[in-house]
């Protein structure tokens, strides 16, 4: 009797507590996280039936073929649904980097890299961006405010994208920028010493130990030296710059960085070896003719001069060994503060070998397993595939067919080639998928060619065969496939990065956008899905990363965060600590921004004062960015939630200058303003 009561009672307690948990848990299920996949909120058989009939009518009205409808269904991404992949695209002349979603082909962001960009407050008064841009200026003081960005390189771990950082080069001035993918902002710009032009950059080694940058148009070494064109062979040089990346610091560091002197052959694109070929670098070159142009003097112009010989030289560099040599005293000379391994040392230490390659090649692309190097060039209809094993054997056996004029050993062409495959007119660059296929852009005939790699990817008859070509519009340069240059490509999508769009879009004047064409490569046949115009600059290379590898911040992790140092700024203004401090000729202000006011709102200074504003956006809400613009002073900052930034200027114009929040932050955004009162200097 008693026991039963106890039992009855205790089960009551258990039920009671369980009930409490259920009540409290229910509250959490309301806001599920929607990211990828379809929005199936409204799907019933009846609605689907109606939709099909409606869709048919729409297709008819808009003159869409079943293929068009299929393409639309493969790319349409409903509101609030995220893309599977992100592309990081070089921004060409814009000097920036574009972030584009795949398959939606929506432009998500333009990351300011080398060029002032007002929306992000990059180069319009913020101390952080001023310092970055200054680091990228010429040592002479000449400001470089445009860039020709070509090749982005995502950091890699074990040859796979890790989503942490992105490098991008500036071909016009031989610079490298580093973008942190936590906040998608540029953290470092390096003006590479000794060179002034680069194309073969940026590429990273499989664990991002080095960022590879080869010079393109040869100049005297260092480039500030003067020499005449007659002295080309003797004084002009190419350079391979190896920038040491310190992942802990999130910066390229001087310690461990070095350069290698190369012949003035106009080094072109490079790639880092991976897996079996890890520790090696492969670069193309164009001008082994040592052509110097001079059309005005009746000499052959460069376009003819550099195309005289049938073969140019692929550069094969033993990076591992070179890094060791660079550490040894006496093996390098210091030029412009950088250790440089001379050409003679490279030859004597066995760091550099040449391999003949069909003339004026573009890409040298390493297969996912590192076994093959695919070289293609616009003046040859073939892709030439080299075997890393054979290269190693030739080096070991000293199987050289000669030396170039500088004494660099040339490996015997026939003994290192694995295959040659007829691709079409003007093959350029190659990407890979997860099924042993390669995709080569074919410039002159405007196609993307799909072909099968040899063993171990494909055996027997199948190996080294061209399987399909799809026309693209028009003049394809690079192509990018999903993670297509890593050790584990995904397949699924490739994008043709077309230089010309001619008739693809509504006319917008004589300067036309480029055309990114999304191609589905997952099926039996390649299918063109979508055209995306790029009207901001001419992109070159692009990398496509699985979106879930990125883990960016929604807001800065703490209030008062300085994106320049990626830590809390000790000088940041704090809520409640706003103040104006005056000293002789200087006014320093600690200001906060929150919806919808700045504090302080009145800043009175004397004409000629140095004004320093430390501004913190103390918001914690996602998307609650404030701008800070001073009218008439060419100043605009973007302060993302938590961000602290500093602006310094001389108040040289007297008068009353409104300042305001230049991001529409709230209903009372217009009222988010204040006055800078500059008292005239009447003395």
């Amino acid at each position: 009797m008693f026991i039963r009561r106890v039992m009855g009672f205790s089960s009551l307690v258990v039920l009671l507590i369980a009930g409490l948990f259920i009540v409290s848990c229910q509250n959490n299920s309301a806001n599920g996280d929607k990211k990828t996949g379809s929005n199936n909120e409204t799907s019933s058989v009846e609605q689907n039936g109606n939709m099909a009939a409606g869709a048919e009518q729409i297709a008819k009205d808009r003159n869409l073929s079943p293929k068009d409808v299929e393409a639309a269904l493969k790319t349409y991404t409903p509101s609030g649904i995220y893309d599977d992949y992100l592309m990081f695209s070089s921004g060409g002349h814009s000097g920036q980097v574009f972030v584009i979603g795949v398959p939606s082909m929506r432009l998500l962001k333009v990351i300011a890299a080398f060029t002032p960009e007002p929306w992000q407050g990059f180069g319009y008064g913020s101390e952080e961006s001023a310092k970055l841009l200054k680091d990228g200026d010429m040592k002479s003081g000449t400001k470089l405010r445009w860039a020709d960005t070509h090749h982005p390189a995502l950091t890699e771990t074990n040859g796979e994208y890790d989503g942490q950082y992105l490098f991008i080069n500036d071909k016009a001035n031989a610079r490298v920028a580093l973008i942190d993918l936590r906040d998608f902002e540029t953290k470092q710009i390096i003006k590479t010493p000794n060179i002034i032009s680069d194309h073969g950059s940026t590429f990273v080694t499989p664990n991002s130990e080095y960022v590879i940058q080869s010079s393109q148009y040869a100049t005297p070494l260092p480039f500030q030296e003067y020499a005449t064109m007659d002295e080309y062979q003797e004084k002009f040089r190419g350079v391979m710059a190896l920038h040491k990346f310190d992942r802990e610091k999130g910066r390229i560091v001087a310690e461990g960085s070095f350069q290698m002197e190369l012949p003035p052959y106009w080094q072109d694109l490079c790639d880092a070896g991976k897996k079996v070929s890890e520790g090696w670098i492969f670069c193309n070159s164009i001008n082994t003719e040592l052509a110097t142009g001079g059309i005005e003097q009746g000499l052959p112009p460069f376009e003819a001069g550099v195309s005289q010989r049938d073969m140019d030289y692929m550069h094969v560099i033993d990076l591992k060994k070179a890094a060791e040599v660079a550490k040894q005293p006496g093996k390098t000379k210091e030029i412009s503060g950088v250790k440089v391994i001379s050409l003679e040392t490279s030859i004597s230490e066995g760091l550099l070998y040449f391999i003949p390659e069909p003339k004026s090649p573009h890409g040298v692309d390493v297969a996912p397993g590192g076994e093959y190097l695919v070289v293609a060039g616009k003046l040859d209809t073939h892709a030439t595939i080299y075997s890393f094993d054979k290269i190693q054997k030739a080096i070991k056996d000293k199987n050289f067919e000669g030396n170039d004029v500088y004494g660099v050993p040339i490996l015997t062409y026939n003994d290192v080639v694995a295959a040659q495959l007829e691709i079409g007119l003007g093959p350029l660059h190659t990407q890979f998928d997860n099924e042993g296929n390669a995709y080569t852009s074919v410039f002159i005939e405007s196609t993307l060619a799909k072909w099968k790699l040899g063993p171990p990817y494909n055996e027997g008859e199948e190996a080294w065969t061209l399987t399909e070509k799809i026309p693209v519009q028009y003049n394809i340069g690079h192509t990018v496939c999903a993670e297509g240059d890593t050790t584990s490509p995904d397949g699924k999508y490739c994008v043709a990065l077309n230089k010309w769009s001619i008739d693809r879009f509504t006319a917008v004047g004589p300067l036309l956008p480029q055309n990114f064409q999304l191609i589905d490569v997952s099926g039996e046949k390649m299918q063109l899905l979508y055209d995306m115009p790029i009207g901001i600059g001419e992109p070159h290379y692009v990398q496509m990363i699985k979106a879930d590898k990125l883990n960016p911040w929604f807001v800065y992790p703490e209030v008062g965060f300085n994106p320049g140092t990626m830590s809390v700024d000790p000088d940041a203004a704090k809520s409640g600590g706003e103040k104006i401090v005056r000293s002789d000729g200087k006014v320093e202000v600690w200001m906060t921004a929150i919806r919808s006011h700045f504090n302080p709102e009145h800043i009175t200074v004397n004409q000629g004062d140095e004004v320093i504003l430390h501004i913190t956006n103390v918001e914690r809400a996602r998307d609650a960015t404030h701008g800070f613009a001073i009218e008439g002073y060419n100043i605009n900052l973007s302060l993302e939630p938590g961000e602290a930034n500093t602006v310094k200027f001389i108040a040289d114009q007297p008068g009353v200058f409104p300042f305001y929040c230049s991001e529409f932050c709230s209903a009372l955004h217009l009222e988010m303003m204040g006055y800078l009162l500059v008292e005239p200097d009447n003395t």
Binding site: F2, I3, V6, F9, V13, L16, I17, L20, F21, V23, S24, N27, A30, N31, I594, R595, S596, E619, R620, A621, L668, E671
Partner: protein
């Protein structure tokens, strides 16, 4: 049974005779177990939220939340305070400062009082328990007081002060303030404190059943 009744027996009550303890252990253990359980549940409630306010608006797709523990507020407090400043409401952190500071000591006190009933075998046990039984009501009453104080005293200089009438947000259920739908919910901590109250009442019932016969049996005038 023949021991004389001492003065403090009125408070601590009679001892349990040995033979009876051996025979009917459960009768005496049950109220103690229930009381210990109640004290335990009340104590751990300090680690759980008592009350939660969720605000929904178009620009907050995931909603904004403020969770109230006995001694702290968590969630999107800064954001909610930021929004509240438009209507002239004081920051939430300025409410119930004293209560939050003392809450842990208070609850520990309540827990000790409940546990005390194990050693008090007389009706005086009821008095030890009354504060704990009433505690959930006190919590809600205090919450209401502060909501009223804040909602009815809006700063008239605020940007949207004439767009919003003074209001008292609901203690439980839905409300509407400007574009915000507010949902107030009682959370597990509060339910735990209520469960503790119920357990105490049940415990007192068994306590009386266990000890009353002893008191009646040993009363001086029986």
């Amino acid at each position: 049974m023949n021991e004389p009744i001492r003065e403090n027996d009125l408070i601590f009550g009679p001892r349990i005779p040995k033979e009876l303890w051996k025979k009917e252990k459960g009768r005496f253990l049950l109220p103690s177990i229930i009381m210990v359980l109640a004290a335990f549940i009340l104590f751990i409630s300090i680690f759980f939220p008592y009350w939660k306010l969720t605000l929904f608006a178009p620009q907050y797709p995931d909603g904004l939340q403020a969770s109230m523990y006995v001694n702290r507020l968590t969630g999107d407090i800064q954001e909610i305070d930021g929004l509240n400043h438009y209507i002239g409401m004081k920051p939430m952190g300025e409410a119930a400062v004293l209560e939050r500071t003392l809450s842990i000591f208070m609850i520990v006190g309540l827990v000790l009082l409940i546990a005390g009933t194990i050693f008090v075998h007389s009706p005086f046990a009821l008095f030890l328990c009354i504060p704990a039984i009433l505690y959930p009501l006190f919590f809600l009453g205090d919450l209401y007081f502060w909501m009223r104080t804040f909602g009815m005293n809006l700063d008239s200089r605020a940007a949207l002060s004439n767009a919003i009438q003074p209001f008292v947000p609901p203690l439980l259920g839905e409300g509407k303030i400007a574009q915000f739908l507010t949902v107030a919910s009682w959370e597990i901590g509060l339910y735990m404190s209520i469960a503790a109250s119920i357990l105490i009442i049940i415990g007192l019932y068994y306590h009386r059943k266990a000890y009353k016969p002893l008191i009646v049996g040993s009363a001086p005038n029986s």
